[in-house]
Amino acid sequence: MRYAPLTVPIIKRGIFLAATGLLLAGCQSSPSTLNPQGPAAARISDLTWVLFVVGGAVYVIVMALLLYALFRRRATTQSSGPPGRERWIIWGGIGLTAVVLLLIFGFAVNTLVAIARPDTADQLTVEVTGHQWWWEVHYPDEGVTTANEIHIPTGEPLEIKLKSQDVIHSFWVPELHGKLDLVPGQTNTFWLQADQDGEYWGICAEYCGIQHAKMQFVVVAQPPAELERWLQAQSQPAVTPTEPQAVRGQEVFMEANCGECHTIAGTAAGGELGPDLTHLASRRTLAAGVVENNRGNLGGWIIDPHGIKPGNLMPATPLSGEDLQALLAYLEILE
């Protein structure tokens, strides 16, 4: 039976090495916590690497000790050694554990203090409200409301007020920060900062019902001046259609009662159950980060939302091909 346990460390090591290699290889496309793009995520990532190294060392030491215990050379006659050595292992182990724990606890508390929200008076504030299964994004000072897409100024901290309209959700952009829950009945304050321009993937991290998996969003970091322009554009009411097909599309929108749930600023549509569509065409995704915002997907989403996202709260809207094309033409001008 000697041969069998020898393979333990080999397999373990194999898995570990393979995994580490894959970890590095897989980083490119993943929203990885170890590929931090903002100061908070960077501090947490530093802590993570320290924990990997320290934890890994502890694991190696314990396993080495275990291997020694199992396979050390034993004299054939002697049954057991004097008790002194065992006591040494036990107390050494406990002492080492305690010291390591206190050190990393200190480091973690230090990190906790370091990732505290910076107190800058003029920082931009955005309110994010969780809905089953999409994100309402509101810039109170600028009067802008959008969905599933948060625009932030690159290199500057942004304060985020998190609320929930229904159940508990959790706000997570792995490359920028840890997560914070959206709890009905309370407002949680969070902050984000991205160091580089770019788009960062986010998702709901607290199970919130049937479409928890498809409650995603995008954080768009852009230079402050560009953000200013974006906010300016988004605060305008919706474009009034002029082309006949788009005019017809607006009628379809009203006839199909889309306005019961959706708002288009500057029209009669003022519903609040679904996302605000005033500037729908400017958004990158549909259905809370699930599909790219293009004509085909939008049409598919309107006709059969449950094909893309089963169980979501938007009802299917049966439209004739002509009406659908008109509606799409209208929605496409809402930039």
Binding site: M1, A4, P5, V8, A19, L22, L23, C27, S30, P31, S32, T33, L34, R43, L47, T48, L51, G55, Y59, V62, M63, L65, Y68, A69, L70, S79, S80, G81, E86, R87, G92, I94, L101, I104, F105, A108, L112, I115, Q132, D166, I168, W172, P174, E175, G178, L180, D181, V183, P184, G185, Q186, W201, I203, A205, Y207, I210, Q211, A213, P310, G311
Partner: protein
């Protein structure tokens, strides 16, 4: 100490036992302790072996079912955007998988093991409350089946195993699915608490003479702390479940933020259970490991005192870690830091145990058998789970890891590594003792390697997927996020793991038929369960062993003797009484013989009571209130029948002669020590529930700026204060009654009990009167909900105290009590004192505290 070279005893301990006892006496004992035959007998059975086998068999069945659900989960996640299983079904799968493993597999499995091996390991004959054990199985099995009945009604719970409000509340989980979750599992929770009570008493008061606390097998230490933790953990869960069910059924607002409630309160109540639950699963496993390591290292356990204190420390610390499941809720930093500190420090006792095991192996000489392989597998896996556990106990890291696949990986490393591997080690180790057949070593090794490789392949990659941003509980994921490969590995691993479990089942059933017969002590182990025949006789030991060290079978050539006073007593006990089930209580610390008492015999009433219980809970799922009432009636009949004293045929002179000769009290009824402990534990459970309600009160108060809320006046103190005074007076009356019977004055007792009852009833009436005049109800506001809940709870306990008093009175008029035997009177008094203290706490909380803050 030199175990390997010690020559085996001339004859086996089991044969020695029968030699001391005498053949015919042993046969008579075997009959006395046997379960009744036939189908009806099957429902009345309560032998600990039989009950334990049922519990473990049921738990293992749920393990297999939960495992199949997990395989389906893994199939769905095999590839991105898979449409194999729809989102609804997927959400049901992970909810059922988690709940099954947590509530229906590990905890019952651990308790089943304890009921199976504790009596023989401790050198006694039975558990203290065999009927409670039988009841525990009936409730656990019925609750588990009821839980799966949800599939028949197409109302499968899908709010996750921690069922966060408001997703589990009336608005977002309409229908009866969540009621299945709350109520069916509620039945299983009752089972867990019931078994916990008897495990505590068995370990503290029913050990072999000489088995002091400091010589007790480490498994007993682990189970002692576990069982206490079960009482402290499952009670708040039942309170939380009750509050959620009330929100769902009668429109209270405990977790409704719109009317003063708080969804975060659910998380507190749940995790006050949920975190200790992890240790409830882990500590018994450490106990198993502490038994198995020394046997296969051929060396006594190093650092006994250290390990025992580590187990105790773990038990305490496990209760103040719960907030580390809530770091992302938005709690104050100072709170998170307190809990983070505690979460880190619990690694010290865990580490102490691991180093002590390694030290034991170093100084020993390993023997590679399957149980030992599983223990090594446990160490390799669990240490990694422990290290990631420390990581997620640190707030900043947890902000990233929380609710990601990193947590899924961590919790499976801890639970499969920390519980399931030791359970398999324990199955390979102990099953031969009880089945009488050795399991195949060859299949055992295959079993181990498949499980070990499958496990690591399945769960190690999940760490990485989590760090790469994959949240848990997603039914699918997009391609291109870099998670695909890890999910493929995990799915492949899950099938290898499952193959390992399947191999175990094959090995088990194969051994039952073709296995080699197991000798008395196949592993040359040191603890007492290996010192009786294989499989153990119904009575366990006829002459109870007398223990002289921590490793009786290694240190003592004989565990039955005839020399010392205690040995003579044990021999006498093996010859008398033979017609009723006698067991011994010993003192908690030093295990000196204290009393011989009668363990209750086969009875249909545990089954009846369990049926009553399941009727209530099942009927409540469908809101059939008439049926609920019927269930309550059945329970009352069941409990009365359960406790109805049986007569015994031994003449009182025999008892007295025995008492005189051996200087030890004999009770043909219940044991004084056991009865005292059981009332103590009942009160403990009542007060843990009280603490949970009071915590809820404080919590709801803190989320409201006005208290009481607008339109509700401050509570009026007049009638409640008078009622409180009257109740306190009744406490004096019961004290007086008890003093009366202690000196043998029957009328004094009767009058005192009657006076207590009248004063108690008047006090209760005044309190109810005060309640009836309130201007609000539980639907008005969360204030009203918690006010009625806490008040109603107090009134219920007071009513129970009065009912108990009533029964005792009936018996006192029948003259059943004497100066020497009045356990029931003492218990009634104790319970009543507890009730009064409880009322004072409630009075302060409900009526006085709003005047203060």
């Amino acid at each position: 100490m030199d175990a390997t070279t010690q020559s085996p005893p001339a004859r086996s301990h089991g044969e020695a036992d029968i030699a001391v006892t005498g053949e015919s006496e042993a046969k008579q004992l075997e009959r006395t302790w046997a379960d009744p035959p036939g189908l009806f007998g099957w429902f009345r059975a309560l032998q600990n072996d039989e009950v334990a086998k049922r519990i473990m068999g049921t738990a293992f069945t749920f393990f297999v079912v939960g495992g199949i659900l997990a395989l389906l989960i893994r199939l769905q996640l095999l590839s991105p955007e898979s449409t194999l299983i729809g989102p609804d079904t997927y959400n049901e799968l992970f909810t059922m998988h988690g709940s099954t493993m947590m509530y229906l597999f590990v905890v019952p499995m651990m308790e089943g093991f304890a009921i199976l091996i504790l009596p023989v390991m401790l050198g006694n004959r039975e558990m203290p409350f065999p009927r409670l054990g039988a009841f525990s199985w009936f409730t656990m099995a019925m609750g588990g089946v009821l839980f799966y009945v949800s599939y028949l009604f197409n109302a499968v719970p899908k709010a996750g195993w921690f069922a966060l409000a408001p997703l589990s509340g009336p608005e977002y989980a309409p229908g009866i699915a969540m009621d299945f979750w709350l109520l069916a599992l509620g039945v299983a929770e009752v089972a867990a608490i019931a078994a916990g009570v008897e495990i505590i008493i068995a370990i503290l008061r029913m050990r072999a003479p000489g088995m002091t606390l400091s010589r007790m097998p480490m498994y007993a230490w682990a189970m002692l702390v576990t069982a206490v933790a079960i009482l402290f953990a499952f009670t708040p869960l039942m309170v939380g479940s009750l509050l959620l069910e009330l929100d769902r059924k009668i429109g209270s607002h405990f977790f409704n933020p719109a009317l003063g409630g708080s969804p975060v309160l659910w998380q507190h109540l749940f995790w006050i259970f949920g975190h200790p639950e992890v240790y409830i699963q882990f500590l018994p496993a450490t106990g198993m490991v502490s038994m198995i390591v020394p046997v296969f290292a051929r060396q006594k356990l190093q650092g006994y005192t250290l390990i025992a204190t580590a187990v105790i420390a773990t038990g305490f610390m496990s209760f103040v870690l719960w907030v580390h499941h809530m770091f992302t809720v938005g709690l104050p930093q100072v709170t998170m830091t307190f809990f983070s500190a505690a979460s880190i420090l619990i690694a010290i006792p865990a580490g102490a145990q691991i180093f002590a095991w390694i030290a034991t192996i170093i100084s020993g000489r390993p023997v590679w058998k399957t149980p030992f392989l599983f223990v090594i597998g446990f160490l390799v896996i669990f240490v990694l789970g422990g290290i990631t556990g420390v990581m997620v106990g640190l707030v900043p890291f947890d902000l990233q890891a929380h609710d990601s696949y990193f947590i899924v990986a961590h919790l499976h490393y801890v639970l499969i590594g920390g519980s399931v591997f030791p359970i398999f080690a324990a199955l390979y180790y102990w099953l031969p003792k009880f089945s009488g057949k050795m399991l195949s070593e060859r299949l055992g090794r295959w079993n181990f390697w498949l499980m070990f490789i499958g496990f690591n392949l399945s769960f190690f990659p999940m760490h990485i997927a989590g760090l790469l941003g994959m949240p848990r509980r997603v039914y699918t994921y997009s391609p291109g996020l870099g998670w695909d490969l890890y999910n493929v590995l995990a799915t492949v691993g899950s099938w290898i793991l499952a193959a390992g479990v399947l191999l175990f089942l094959i090995n088990f059933f194969y051994s039952l038929r073709y296995g080699e017969p197991a000798p008395e002590n196949p592993w040359q182990a040191d603890s007492l369960e290996w010192g009786t025949a294989t499989p153990p006789p119904n009575y366990g030991f006829a002459a109870l062993p007398v223990v002289r060290g921590r490793h009786p079978l290694w240190q003592q050539e004989r565990i039955h003797g005839e020399q010392t006073r205690t040995e003579k007593l044990m021999k006498a006990l093996s010859k008398w009484p033979l017609t009723w089930r006698a067991a011994l209580t010993t003192t908690a610390l030093e295990a000196k013989p204290e009393e011989i008492f009668r363990v209750s015999g086969p009875s249909i009433w545990p089954f009846v009571t369990a049926v009553g219980l399941i009727t209530i809970f099942a009927a409540e799922i469908f809101t059939l209130r008439a049926l609920v009432g019927l269930g309550i009636l059945v329970i009352i009949v069941g409990i009365v029948g359960w406790h109805w004293p049986d007569d015994v045929d031994t003449p009182a002179e025999e008892e007295e002669a025995f008492e005189k000769e051996h200087g030890i009290p004999v009770s043909t009824g219940s044991s004084r020590a056991v009865a005292k402990w059981s009332v103590g534990l009942a009160l403990l459970i009542i007060f843990i529930a009280l603490a949970s309600f009071v915590f809820s009160y404080i919590y709801i108060r803190l989320v409201n700026s006005a208290w009481p809320p607008a339109n509700i006046p401050l509570p009026n103190l007049l009638w409640p204060a008078i009622g409180t005074a009257v109740l306190l007076a009744s406490g004096g009356a019961v004290r007086w009654a008890r003093a009366g019977i202690a000196t043998g004055k029957q009328n004094h007792l009767r009058l005192g009990l009657a006076l207590t009852f009248v004063l108690g009833a008047v006090g209760l009436g005044l309190l109810i009167y005060a309640f009836s005049g309130l201007s609000f109800n539980w639907q008005t506001h969360a204030y009203g909900s918690i006010f009625y809940m806490l008040g109603g709870y107090a009134l219920l306990i007071i009513t129970s105290g009065l009912l108990m008093n009533l029964f005792t009175q009936v018996w006192s008029w029948l003259g059943r009590y004497s100066a020497k035997r009045h356990v029931a009177v003492a218990n009634t008094a104790r319970f009543w004192y507890g009730t009064l203290v409880l009322w004072l706490v409630v009075f302060f909380t409900l009526y006085l505290s709003p005047h203060i803050w």
